[in-house]
């Protein structure tokens, strides 16, 4: 596949790895105090595991996995609201597949579907529009979820519905902004990071300037990266070069897709339809404070929260409400590996997940389970 296969060349990877090893030696850190680089995006986490890049690293370089999985930081009460909406007899509830098996307080959307709720997995919000057009006697709700990569698609779908006066379509908005979640990490005194691999597809929409604060205010290097193995290795090399040279800059490795100032058409659609959701008081300290979006008044006819009077407080609940004994919150903040969680692989598996991190296509526990669970299991006889 064009623009994919070229970025998987093993010879180039070998060279990049030898450079990474050489520069990490120049930085002079040991395995006890490794150079910690966070890949923010869950898509990057999965690429790293899928191609075994973590196993190719010198011992002095460690990947820390970041919070870039929108399903994983969706408060549990919002899943409960989804189920309530889906169980409304007039509603056809449409969603991406990632969310289906995420446990709510009592059940998941998957379980609600098994019990008879009309829940349909779609590939695109445009598919939800098609369902709305062909079911005029039903209310079609689409679960709007994701960072800035996905936000333009639901904004444009709302604009299309508005132009067509498609009155039976609405979006349950749970969109969030990515830069705010990085700021939350940087403010956490328990997390020590040396640099970041920045998200590629969020940046294709917002550009690279929203990360300026990371370099300027927090003095950390960040390199926006593509998703193929060579993209990730080259980006890591660029981060390490910055650390070695004591530079802190925002650099862009994924120039073939990410323009410096982002995509003005996508940004215009986001700004036209969405606004920042007013903040509620946080209930506990050390929770990730994230900027969440809501639908502007001009488009309230397409806002499921207005239509079905949902006023659950998205910030009052823990970002990752975790069941007893789980380590979800530490994992999502990059403070623990999934394998350090006592539930991982025992009472929490993709078949019977205790939380979203194990079932989302970008969840870090899912990545560990899928690609590397056999590596770290220690057998004692």
């Amino acid at each position: 596949m064009r623009y994919v296969d070229e970025f998987r060349n093993p010879q180039a990877a070998q060279w990049l790895l030898s450079k990474i090893t050489k520069i990490s030696e120049e930085i002079d850190r040991t395995g006890d105090n490794p150079i910690s680089i966070m890949e923010i995006c869950g898509g990057h986490t999965h690429s790293i595991f899928r191609y075994g890049l973590d196993q190719l690293m010198p011992t002095s370089v460690e990947f820390i996995h970041g919070p870039g999985c929108p399903v994983c930081i969706l408060p549990k009460n919002r899943i409960d609201e989804c189920i309530k909406l889906a169980e409304h007899p007039k509603v056809i509830f449409t969603t991406f597949g990632d969310v289906m098996r995420v446990p709510g307080t009592l059940k998941s959307l998957d379980q609600a579907k098994a019990e008879g709720a009309d829940i349909r997995m779609v590939y695109s919000p445009l598919d939800a529009l098609v369902i709305a057009r062909s079911n005029p006697d039903k209310e079609v709700v689409f679960l709007g979820l994701g960072f800035e990569t996905t936000t333009p698609s639901t904004a444009l779908s709302i604009q299309i519905a508005s132009r067509e006066a498609l009155g039976n379509f609405s979006v349950f908005c749970n969109h969030i902004t990515l830069p705010s979640s990085i700021k939350a990490l940087l403010d956490d005194p328990f997390i020590t990071l040396d640099g970041f691999i920045g998200p590629g597809h969020v940046s294709m929409v917002i550009g690279t300037h929203p990360y300026d604060f990371i370099a300027k205010e927090y003095g950390k290097p960040i390199v926006v990266a593509g998703f193929e193995p060579l993209d990730l290795l080259q980006s890591l090399l660029m981060v390490l070069e910055q650390i070695r040279d004591r530079r802190t800059e925002v650099e862009n490795q994924y120039t073939r897709v990410v323009p410096e100032h982002g995509n003005p058409l996508s940004l215009a659609a986001i700004n036209e339809v969405y606004e920042l959701r007013p903040k509620f008081q946080r209930s506990r300290p050390n929770e990730i404070e994230i900027n969440r979006l809501s639908i502007r008044k001009n488009y309230r006819a397409y806002d499921a929260e207005e239509k079905f009077v949902i006023n659950s407080d998205v910030d009052r609940h823990s970002v990752t409400a975790e069941p007893d004994g789980c380590a979800c919150k530490l994992v999502i903040m990059g403070r623990a590996k999934p394998t350090e969680c006592p539930k991982f692989g025992l009472s929490c598996t993709p078949e019977i997940p205790l939380n979203a991190l194990m079932v989302s296509s970008e969840g870090v526990c899912a990545a560990y389970w899928k690609y590397s669970r056999m590596r770290e299991i220690k057998v004692s006889i």
Partner: protein, 105 residues
């Protein structure tokens, strides 16, 4: 959620609704091109775009792609001259395990 995949724009289906057909590794699909419609639509045909949830989210800049590849190609050539470096197996673990092809989303 943030996964995207390159597809080639092969036809404009509806200039008013901004819908086009893209070819993704031989599979065709209709996508919305609102986010890449800043130049005359006919000029988009033949371009590669990053496809995400049914929308062409960005045009792939061929010049920039080639520039990155050129650097990487030079890396590859240099690595052939290196001796004693570890052998790299970038086999897709997912395909190895499940025999699946690229995830399209």
């Amino acid at each position: 959620m943030c996964l995207g995949i390159p597809g080639k724009i092969i036809a404009i289906n509806d200039a008013n609704l901004l819908m086009a057909t893209v070819d993704i590794s031989g599979v065709t699909r209709e996508v919305n091109i609102s986010c890449v419609a800043s130049k005359p639509l006919e000029k988009l045909i033949g371009s590669y775009a990053l496809i995400h949830v049914g929308f062409a989210m960005a045009l792939i800049d061929e010049h920039e792609a080639n520039r990155t590849l050129e650097i990487l190609k030079n890396f590859g050539m240099a690595s052939e001259m290196l001796q004693g470096t570890q052998n790299v197996n970038l086999a897709d673990k997912h395909q190895e395990d499940l025999g699946e092809h690229h995830e399209i989303r």
